[in-house]
């Protein structure tokens, strides 16, 4: 490991002194938790940070994840005590700033998505999906209908089926057509009076725009179902189209994708949901209401699904995204999408001599290449290509997703990469395609660690030092 575990240090004897502080018999008897003086602590965690790669380190074309640059003005704003030291249950007198910002953010997301109302509560995209599925359920029930099926294309992100299933829906998966798009006849066949919703990503996870989206909307609506927009790919189309214009009823946003908030190595993110007005009564409570200067929180929404998380949303993330929207403005967002698409198409062109890239042009913000030929020809899989890219300081693309492309390499450079950087990514990938397979299969060769044995981890299931110690003691 990069540094010895903190837990693996000695600690002076003794137990916390809890007498008189907790009920008799409830005192803690021992706790292994060594304290590390600040100088050593900093070195430890800074060394760990240096063994981690972020967008500030280099190219990070991780498809579907939209690893945009995280602008630094947002950090400055987020450090203010006007953000950090706010409590969600304060009197409205104290929170006008938060409420105003949330209200403006809701309005901005309405403009961007073409929806009528937005809730900022969900903590991430999947959380937004779940909130939406609860609304879908509540909506149909409110009409006396007990629809129990949700339709998803096979190219959908895993969270789509997972969220629908978690909300108690049966899944109906439809295969993509030859062209990588939704097969309208398969959709038609799947739709019925039991259909509660159809979940669609547009552009889809192959980076293809579902041009028949309006027709799908009619089909879905004709059957009394709702059309759901997975907004993870919104970065492709801002200023050109919107979920509203495409006919969607519900949409979730990923602020940590489209709106440049940091992903934090896993989170926190933020996954607001937007709906058409007929669904507004179902949005989570409380809602921000009132006018500038006298905003408040309204809990009296009898049809609301209630709460999906304890907070009103991840406020600092909302604030960062709102600042980004202000900074870009309408034109800037449109330009960001245009550049993201240009970059993806350029990079695609630059590598397609070495990798197959199934399906037709143009792509939107991402594309999926395949290492199928490499695998056949030299036994080099997508995984191996990825590991070898690590040696060159380029973060690998998303691999093996979507599943309908064999040996998939899902590449999304975002608008932030310069031509120079795109050329570098391409050069690295192309060189790997030509490299001798032994080298590639052995990668990564540079750097502090070699290829990591993921199956051993799964077999051993050692998830804590406590467990490790228990095994050592055996």
């Amino acid at each position: 490991m990069i540094r010895r575990l903190i837990m693996d240090r000695e600690q002076e004897g003794g137990a916390p002194d809890a007498s008189g502080l907790v009920p008799p018999g409830m005192e803690r008897r021992s706790l292994h938790m060594p304290a590390v003086p600040e100088p050593e602590l900093l070195r430890h965690y800074i060394a760990l940070s240096r063994a981690n790669f972020g967008t500030d380190s280099g190219p990070y074309p991780l498809g579907s994840c939209t690893m945009k640059h995280n602008p630094k003005y947002a950090d400055r704003l987020a450090a203010s005590p006007k953000v950090t030291r706010m409590h969600p249950q304060m009197e409205d007198d104290h929170t006008q700033g938060c409420l105003e910002l949330m209200s403006r953010m809701e309005a901005a997301l309405c403009s961007i998505s073409g929806m009528d109302a937005v809730s900022l509560h969900p903590a991430a995209g999947a959380h937004g999906e779940y909130a939406s599925m609860l609304m879908v359920r509540a909506y149909h029930r409110s009409r006396g209908e007990d629809r129990d099926e949700v339709i998803v294309p096979d190219s959908a992100h895993g969270t789509n089926p997972a969220s629908a299933a978690m909300a108690g829906f049966k899944l109906v998966e439809i295969p993509s057509g030859e062209d990588g798009l939704v097969d309208l006849s398969a959709l038609e066949a799947a739709l019925s009076g039991r259909s509660a919703a159809f979940m669609l990503t547009n552009p889809n996870t192959l980076g293809l725009f579902e041009k028949d989206v309006r027709e799908m909307a009619s089909m879905v609506h004709d059957k009394g179902a709702l059309l759901y927009y997975d907004g993870a790919n919104l970065n492709a189309v801002m200023g050109r189209t919107s979920p509203g214009a495409m006919g969607f009823d519900i949409v979730h946003f990923n602020l940590h994708k489209t709106f440049a908030t940091p992903h934090g190595g896993g989170g926190p993110g933020s996954g607001p949901v937007g709906v058409r007005s007929f669904l507004e009564p179902f949005l989570p409570v409380p809602r921000v209401v009132g006018d500038e200067g006298c905003r408040s929180l309204d809990w009296s929404r009898p049809q609301s699904i209630g709460k999906v998380g304890s907070a009103l949303g991840n406020f600092p993330v909302l604030m960062r995204a709102y600042a980004y929207i202000l900074r870009q403005g309408g034109d800037g967002l449109k330009e960001a999408s245009a550049r993201a698409v240009l970059n993806a198409n350029y990079l695609k062109r630059r590598i397609e001599g070495h990798y197959e890239v199934p399906f037709s042009d143009p792509r939107k913000h991402e594309f999926v290449a395949s290492a199928r030929a490499l695998k056949k020809g030299k036994g080099v899989r997508a995984l191996d290509v990825a590991k070898r890219m690590i040696d060159q300081g380029v973060h690998p693309p998303t691999i093996y997703f979507p599943a309908l492309v064999e040996e998939a390499l899902m590449i999304e450079p975002t608008e932030d990469e310069s031509k120079e950087s795109l050329d570098r990514i391409a050069d690295v990938m192309n060189a790997i395609a030509e490299e001798d397979p032994e080298t590639v299969l052995a990668a990564p060769l540079e750097g502090p660690v070699g290829r990591i044995d993921e199956s051993k981890a799964a077999k051993d299931a050692v998830l804590s030092f406590r467990r490790l110690r228990a095994l050592r003691d055996v």
């Binding site: 967008t55 003005y73 804590s464």
Partner: protein, 436 residues
Amino acid sequence: MDRKEMMETIGIGFEEDLFEDVPAEVRCHLPLPPGMSERETVAAVESILERNRHMGEAPSFLGAGCYDHYVPAAVDHIVSRSEFYTSYTPYQPEMSQGMLQALFEYQSHICELTAMDAANCSLYDGATALGEAARMCARLNNGELFLAPRAMSREKLSVLRNYLVGTGVGIGLYGWDEDGGLDLDDLGPRLEGEVCGVYAECPNMFGVIDARTDLLRPLTEAPLVMGVNPLTLALCKPPGEMGADIVVGDGQCLGAHPNFGGPGLGIFACRQEHVRRMPGRVIGLTEDSRGQQAFCMTMQTREQHIRRGRATSNICTNVALLAVGAAVHMSLLGRDGLSSLARENVERARRLMDLLSELDNVVSPFFGNHHFNEFLAQMPVRPEKLNRVLAKRGFQGGLPMGPHVPELGDCMLLASTEMHDDATQDAFVAALREVL
């Protein structure tokens, strides 16, 4: 210049050509004003935030799951390291050993605190962690009802309900006793039914360190879920020693700022035998090709990106950065630092309850029991009204209980932490004395 070359390479004449696949009928404009400079952006957002009055400006006695603790500067420094906060979920372990080790350390710390074997590397917040725990009980066990305390915030209860929607399991609520601990007479008979899982909190919603949680294990064979405040655990017997199967809680108090309530840090720990039924991402220890110890995400086949509709949860993005912050926080404080911080919180709350008890018309604490850093006080006026009056005087009172537990509608849940000095508490009580 670059742009032109790129378009030539692609073989297009206009950028617009890249959008030829977007049909005319879905085209639309973006009705937002033009952009601003960085300076203007910062000024615009600051002028909105200016309208807030934060806890340093109006001392606050709110807690109820979100606490104003001092965040050591070292914690903020580490989570501000670009390599950490600009990275994604560590899908490529060879490029992310730093984040993976930090998260493994977080999991390890949580396991030590709770005395459990395994923890995941975070869920959204304490409430969704409870929701996921209830769902996991439904995976581990049959049974119709998930038993939980009636003394729960409306937020948490609502989340719990929403997370059980798809399982068919209902919620059974049990009451509290005259000392604010769980009511075994109420709970006992309920345990006879088809119980899917049992949830108990310590400290509970009243801030009570409830010794009765230690009596639960022998009473049921259903999975036992315990809700904790991790800071309390520096003083208190851990759930692992009380027979818990699953432990949940919110770790915001471990080095994260209140931030208007979100992000929280959903803690989720369980016994080794249950690990493959857990929700969320977990980091495991393994080896690399050179035989060195290393880390990676593991048991991903439980997760949505592999298992899709049959995953143990839909969660993808979690709150990893807060978990890193919590690991730094716990490493910095260690056992002794954490337990003396916990002690300070008990003592702060005690001092405040004592001061309040001197007010004629206030019952403080409402429950005679051990409290951690918050407690109920019964007020002679509606807490909602009282808070409005206090706000005018530059204070933020405690949480009115009415919306959560209607029969305690004349009570307020007051929290105090190390951030309150004597003067702040005294000034608050003086203000109360004047208005009551």
